[in-house]
Amino acid sequence: MTDGNEIGGGAPRPLLCVRDLRVQVATADGAKTVLDGLSFDLSPGETVALAGESGSGKSMTALAIMGLLPKPMARIVGGSIRLGEIELTELSETGYRKIRSARIAMVFQEPMTSLNPLMTVERQLCEVLLEHGVCRRSEAPKRALGLLKDVRLTEPERRLGQYPHELSGGMRQRVMIAIALACDAEVLIADEPTTALDVTVQAEILDLIRTLQDEHGTAVLMITHDMGVVAEMADRVIVLRNGRQEEAAPVRELFAAPRTDYAKSLLAAVPRLGTAPARPPVEGHSKIVDVEDLSVRFDLKGGILGRTVARVYAVEGVSFAIREGETLALVGESGCGKSTIGKALLGLVPWEGSIRVDGVQTRGRSRAAMRPVLRNIQMVFQDPGASLDSRMTVGEQVIEPMRVHGLAEGSELEDRAEWLFRRVGLSADMLARYPHEFSGGQRQRVCIARALSLSPKVIVADESVSALDVSVQAQVLELLQELQQEDGLSYLFISHDMAVVEQMADRVMVMRLGQVVEEGARDAVLRNPRHPYTQRLLAAVPVPDPTRPRPPMPDIAGVEEASPIFPVGRGPERIALHELSQGHRVALVAAVTP
């Protein structure tokens, strides 16, 4: 699979040379330089990772190389991008069209929105084949099928005729990769290709990219914020910060001995599985949340009279308790029902079973009757930007719950808001500002202040740090732990990120398809997982250490097909949990022997 780029057995000549690249974006305050003097080479078969936090300019680099910078706001103001003999910065749009996909292809972050919802997979694949004259029209469908087989898509024949909405996120990303590979491009730019996917799917997609790279000798430019992905994929790493290169080094050197302070702090902030310190025991404290046999089901309507034809068994027979000062982590992949449990606790979805918050039964309570319960339980959501009202000052938003619950009046409200702001590490003079004036991490602090305004005993944190950069994430996690130590707060910590869970949790509950498959003390579940599903989840987590390869993931039959939707009257089979040791309970499957 050599492509003539190697000279006499020596070092391969770089395929892509970026030199002193500068990109500016027009803003209301004039031109802002978002990429400042970036230089790097990419050789055939090599993977270079562009790593950095949001706003570091890594996606801008990808778009600049592809000639897809949003016009007219962003433009290249200096430097050069050479692909072989071609200078890309001087290329016309027509010239660029012949390069895109044919020589440089790209895979994007959002497989959900990156495909055209109105076209079948086959048409979207054939389109790119025909555009670049890879094959004749009559051969295109056969070629498309071959591509789907290359990306290891299950049932490729059936997939050809399907539309994107009929595929899962992982399948869609495979289709995106098939499109990117259709013309056997020399360079593949992967812009956060697995960020929107579950961790097990991420592991599969990363494996796939590596395999295809080996088969085709493709040069890969991997853009990611995840140092675990960097460690797993990259040969060399370029750490970006504010559009400048902070450090460039072979991956092992960077992880072993980062030279710059920024790279050091970035690596230090990465949560690593198996490194979290022990947590003090919380046994003996009283139960703040006590859930028994909780089920949440959503009806699917259909037929001539709009009858219920099927049901989504989102949560099925889940029981758990959270003690004072304790953190219970709820983990599992998207659609497993973990967020639904959080919503049920706050009465945001209809549910069956029993939920007691601080001893008070919340079943059958109206919205108004839920109010006193909600003083004790509050929620912090994933996207701090979307969960704040952009037209209200943050101070107003922190005060609002106290006013609604009649906790304080007049100047006392403001005093309390100021106190809360200082509490979460913001200054009191920020109260009069609007959400857009804050960074993502600060906004999440505002959301935490808002949740704390009622002095709740429990906070449901639903993926509360998932959207934040690692350094910011570390700070917010620290804040949550501080609040817990000082006020004895309890958390229901919902997350897909095992390393974060390890830092936060006292106990861990693993969910799959609406039911608990394993639960127990943090160390029991994370360090001695007994259920194959838990083992799979843990094995999929990328290890932020290039010297330690990720262990192979155990296979579970029918993972892709499993669904929590059942016909009316025939729900899922209830899973029975078996107690292995003190508090460590596992669903009984063949692979688990008690």
Binding site: P117, L118, V128
Partner: protein, 306 residues
């Protein structure tokens, strides 16, 4: 699919039943007396009373309504008070002219509206966009009778390109269609523009560009089909707008359709004809909506008819 259409037809029938009731009650509440209209100004009170008795106007409203409804179920829309003819016959004679005008107006507004919308979106915030949006604003805000008379004056009277009024040839159709379609063209151009801009900013366009496709192909194959989806549902509702427009435009251009029939009937409180025309236009609106809802799943695979 069949069960979906059946359910929708059942719903449509219920809606139409509701419309007959509301229209009937409203007409009953009108303070003018149809019998007096029929008898003429010079008729004696006795004659008027006789006519009232003959037409059954003295019966309680629910008796009258029941009589009308049972007639309707047997396909009898009643007899005109003033013209010696069955309402069904009157409508049947004029319906083809109105349908022709309506279809050609829909084609006009879609062609003009969608084209303007696409061009404006591709040239957004540039002079072409601004002038097209001013045009669409004028098209939306100008009353149809003003536009109709203006077009007549310029293109029929001054330039003599088209006949001044009447019905029969393609030339007769042009000015009424444009007059009727211009309002919708204004709406559709604005909706299409914002819908296009919305889709142009979506990730799928970036993917299409990364594939190396030509701009033309990206616009026609990826952007336009996605942009037109929200508009299709609007076309169904739009037929309602047409019905009010048709009354005005048919009068201005002397077009022999049901709009004129309605106009004459309203002036003279010819209740059976008013009821008949209302039923026809209501049916058109309901069917238009049903049609739109059936077309959308053909284009958008995410929407399934259940």
């Amino acid at each position: 699919m069949t069960s979906y259409i059946l359910r929708r037809l059942l719903e449509s029938a219920l809606i139409l039943l509701g419309i007959t009731f509301i229209t009937f009650v409203l007409l009953y509440l009108v303070p003018a007396d149809p019998a007096r209209q029929i008898a003429g100004r010079s008729a004696t009170a006795e004659t008027v009373a006789n006519i009232r008795e003959q037409l059954g106007l003295n019966d309680p409203i629910f008796v009258q309504y029941w009589r009308y409804l049972s007639g309707l179920f047997q396909g009898d829309m009643g007899r005109s008070y003033l013209q010696r003819a069955e309402v069904a016959t009157l409508i049947a004679a004029r319906l083809p002219a109105s349908l022709l005008l309506m279809v050609s107006a829909i084609v006009t507004e879609l062609v003009i509206g969608l084209t303007i919308g696409v061009v404006a979106a591709l040239r957004r915030n540039r002079p072409a966009d601004h002038s097209l949006m001013i045009f669409s604003f004028v098209a939306i805000s100008a009353p149809q009778f003003v536009i109709g008379i203006l077009l007549l004056y310029v293109f029929a009277v001054q330039l003599g390109w088209f006949p001044i009024g009447g019905y029969g040839t393609f030339a007769h159709l042009v000015l009424p269609s444009i007059t009727l379609g211009l309002l919708g063209a204004g709406w559709y151009s604005r909706m299409m523009r914002s819908s296009m801009i919305d889709v142009l900013n979506q990730d799928l366009v970036r993917t299409a560009r990364a594939k190396g496709l030509s701009k033309l192909r990206i616009i026609t194959r990826h952007v336009m089909p996605n942009a037109i989806l929200p508009i299709i549902a609007m076309i169904g509702i739009d037929i309602g707008l047409f019905m009010s427009g048709i009354v005005v435009v048919e009068s201005v251009f002397g077009w022999p359709g049901i709009g004129q029939l309605a106009w004459q009937a309203i002036q003279r409180i010819d209740i059976p004809v008013i009821m008949g025309v209302t039923m026809v236009s209501a049916t058109a609106i309901v069917m238009g909506n049903l049609l739109a809802d059936l077309v959308v799943p053909l284009i958008d695979p995410r929407i399934k008819t259940k």
